[in-house]
């Protein structure tokens, strides 16, 4: 059985109501039909897979996780999670999933261990068993010494661990993590990676959204790259990297509009693609950094001065830029 399956999934949020102020000019009309957050998305996640959803802020990652965790209504299409339909059997879906939210939202009226014990009882687990599991999870996640502390006494990283422990108390088949490492310091991030690897090793399906390329590359079996609600690419990190333009990405920032330099660059030998975004010139070069002097000359010939130069090897990042024309972060 597939852990997750979506068919022609679509989510449209109603356009925000625009209030007209007296005396102010009429505001621009909102986009008719609302804001499309997810657009005809077909996804399949296998059982036991560590699946990454990669995309920039606003790509639709949180909406997708919201739909799969029954917190966002579907506009059209269908989504199945662990064999249950999110729209018609939401309670059954919730029984089978654990959710680690983007921002920790522990129950602040309860202590650390109580957070786990009460959560387990919401899933019908008897109190004694809940207490045993809670203690075990706190130990596994390295916050057992904080069991009786107030939630407010935990650091950001510890709160995130508490959220993971909470998501695991009812032994879910699929664990969702929405950008779990945002706001964590590098050390906390690395230790979270360890925890996630361990969970994956136990055969659990993990679905994680992130906008960190490195994280996706390191942890995930397969990756879906989405932007503006659409699936752009779906494969293993290795295969995706192989699909990345085999060329080095050269980014040159000028002190003004770069479009003239882009025209010149496209005519150059060894350039597969070039485009200008305001003062930023992006060139995919088959000759690595060799073309940099020529690019600088091309700009200077039109009176532009170079402010910054950046070279990137073929990677998920350069693939993403070639797919979307945008950076991830």
């Amino acid at each position: 059985m597939n852990a997750i399956e979506t068919r022609s999934l679509r989510k449209v949020y109603p356009a925000p109501a625009v209030k007209k102020r007296r005396g102010a000019p009429a505001p621009p009309a909102p986009p008719s039909g609302g804001i499309v957050a997810i657009d005809s998305l077909d996804l399949t996640v296998n059982d036991g897979e560590f699946f990454g959803v990669l995309g920039p802020n606003g790509a639709g990652k949180t909406t997708l996780i919201g739909i799969l965790t029954t917190r966002v209504r579907i506009t059209a299409g269908e989504a199945m999670v662990a064999g249950a339909n999110v729209a018609s059997e939401p309670a059954a879906v919730r029984r089978r999933i654990g959710v680690v939210p983007q921002r920790p939202n522990p129950d602040r009226s309860l202590s650390v261990i109580e957070n786990l014990v009460f959560h387990a009882t919401y899933f019908g687990i008897a109190r004694a068993e809940a207490a045993r599991r809670g203690q075990e999870l706190l130990e596994r996640l390295g916050i057992a010494d904080k069991a009786n502390a107030k939630v407010d006494q935990l650091s950001g990283g510890q709160q995130q661990r508490l959220m993971i422990a909470r998501a695991l108390t009812h032994d879910p088949r699929v664990v969702f993590l929405d950008e779990p490492t945002v706001g964590l310091d590098p050390q906390a991030r690395l230790s979270l990676w360890e925890i996630l690897r361990e969970l994956h090793g136990q055969g659990r399906t993990i679905v994680m959204s992130t906008h960190y390329m490195e994280e996706a590359d390191q942890l995930c079996d397969r990756l879906a790259i989405i932007d503006q609600g659409k699936l752009l690419a779906l494969d293993t990190p290795a295969a995706l990297k192989a699909k990345a333009p085999g060329d080095t990405l050269v980014e040159v920032t000028f002190d003004g509009d770069a479009s003239i330099a882009a025209d010149a660059a496209r005519a150059m030998d060894g350039v597969s693609n070039a485009e200008a975004r305001g003062p930023l010139l992006r060139v995919f070069s088959r000759r690595g950094g060799e073309i940099i002097p020529v690019l600088i000359d091309a700009g200077e010939a039109h009176g532009r001065i170079v402010r910054d130069i950046h070279l990137s090897r073929p990677s998920l990042e350069t693939l993403f830029i070639s797919l979307t024309g945008r950076k991830l972060t």
């Binding site: 029954t70 129950d107 009460f118 959560h119 009882t121 909470r166 032994d171 659990r204």
Partner: protein, 265 residues
Amino acid sequence: MTAESLAPVAPSRVFAAILLRDLTVARRELPYFLVRTALQPILFVVVFGFLLPKMGMIPRGYSTTMLPGVVALSLTLSAIQSVALPMMQDFGFTKEIEDRLLSPVPIHLVAVEKVVSGVLQGVVAALFVLPVARLIMGPIAGLSFANAPLLLAVTVLGGAAFSAMGLYLGTGIAPQQIGLMFSVIVAPMIMFGCTYYPWAGLDHVPVMKWLVLINPLVYVSEGMRAALTPGLPHMPIPALLAALVVLTVFFMWVGLRAFDKRAMS
């Protein structure tokens, strides 16, 4: 791990677990809770039930009129706050309620649980204020507990109507407008809720007598009057019970709709 995760959980068990969570938290915050909900009615009792009668500015029998109103006020204020305040906080800022919204039951059960917990907290506040008021005001002529079934019915229905109203206010109003909620909705409701005077007394101002009928508190005050001081004039009992049932159903309906909008996007 899979066998267990597939078994459905009895909704009643989940409901009981969530209710236990709310009661555990409420018990810990009991002193704050009582100050928040009972202080205002008790202060009224001190001034209108003790000081002014002592000064001879209010006839002594007034405490009989006022006591049921004060009990009604404690019940309704605490019921409304016990639901509205956490809802505003949870949905507006902390998102703490998410863990319950992710429990394996229909999400309406989470809202209904809050209303039930609001009723229980209202009862606790009323049970606290009643003896305190009696202590401050001295013996109260005509006070009777003989009408226990009616007292219970008014307490439960009144608590339910106001908890459901709290559900609506807590989910339907933007958190920034919480101050406005108290000054524009709650304060006038208290003043025109027949808490400090009987509804029959409004015979002197007929327009008011009919206008106040839109105020849900009127039915709880009059119901408490009918139950606690049956010798004094009060609204017909079937009418006020029917009104409380209608109000509970109405606020539950609009409250659940508003809750849905906040709980799912």
